[in-house]
Symmetry: C2
Subunit: 191 residues, 2 copies
């Protein structure tokens, strides 16, 4: 759990006292490949920091097909934030694609830590600012680039993820079908 405390301390300095207050609220947990950290419909009560493993966040649309919203690997946070902050049923599933170890904190503890360690508020503000900016960029890419370009960018930005998840999931993340991604790939290969 110190891994996470150290990670946080890179952004905001923490006293020994604060470190241990924080540490006391953290829990380690392991999931096997395929297990769910959270499921659509359940109210999300915890936030998970990935220590090891790969995770995907996805939902099922009206016709029952899966759409991947995001992947998570080491040092990323996962959890349905909308559900967590409003305490209403989650829209998304969070599933482990490999055996995964996470460090967790409950929303309740997080809220109380915001009060005892106000600097934490800063840490998460900055974290979410960045997440917000990158989500916005993703919309931009989706609207102004064809699938092939988006795929190439994905490979550049997230080579680690690209090598750890099956292609049909990458297709889903990019918003295209697995068949079409396959065509794009063969087209790239022929170049």
């Amino acid at each position: 759990m110190e891994v996470l405390v150290d990670h946080i301390a890179k952004t905001i300095s923490l006293t020994e006292e604060e470190r241990s207050q924080l540490m006391s609220k953290l829990t380690n947990r392991r999931y096997l490949k395929g297990q769910y950290i959270g499921q659509e419909g359940d109210i999300t009560r915890i936030l998970s920091f990935i220590r090891k493993g790969t995770v995907r966040t996805f939902y099922l649309d009206a016709s029952g097909s899966e759409h991947i919203i995001s992947f998570g690997i080491e040092n990323w946070w996962v959890g349905d934030l909308g559900s967590l902050i409003e305490q209403k049923p989650a829209d998304y599933n969070v599933q482990c694609l490999e055996d995964t170890e996470v460090i967790q904190i409950s929303n309740e503890d997080l809220q109380s830590l915001y009060i005892t360690i106000p600097k934490l508020e800063r840490f998460f503000r900055i974290l979410i600012e960045r997440a917000y900016v990158s989500t916005q960029k993703r919309i931009v890419r989706k609207q102004s680039l064809p699938a092939k370009e988006r795929y190439i960018l994905f490979l550049e930005h997230y080579p680690e993820i690209a090598s750890r998840v099956p292609q049909y999931m990458i297709a889903s993340y990019l918003g295209i079908t697995k068949e079409f991604l396959s065509q794009i790939r063969s087209q790239i290969a022929r170049t």
Copy 2:
């Protein structure tokens, strides 16, 4: 400027002292229809809270066509956040679509206020959490709904905006061409 302080005080309670510290950093400013609050390429140094008017945030893609990222009306914040937080040239233009009055705060002042009034950090954390969740939902809609459904949802969610901006901008926001939106509309009308 009290409008904004009151708005903020709905989320976090502020002492008289804090209210006036905050107030002292705010500035009123007016823009005419068509003017830019910020332009692509410039470093964004201020955040603007819309008191009255309509604003759009957009960018130009490689082929020179416009893509609208978001609209803003009364009580919304606007500004290229990516540029603001990293102090690098903005990717987006922020332009007024009507004569607009805003309340502004510089990034510099905001950063110092985060220190003197740590609760402000909380206000913006919560603000951005919500913005993040709604941006994520927008990706979801874009990936799982056809343009017609997205347009209908837009009308439901933002009737106010729909009535204040021209259709070709709504099309751009939805990620479709104006011609196609026109077809969608005539199809809806025929129903």
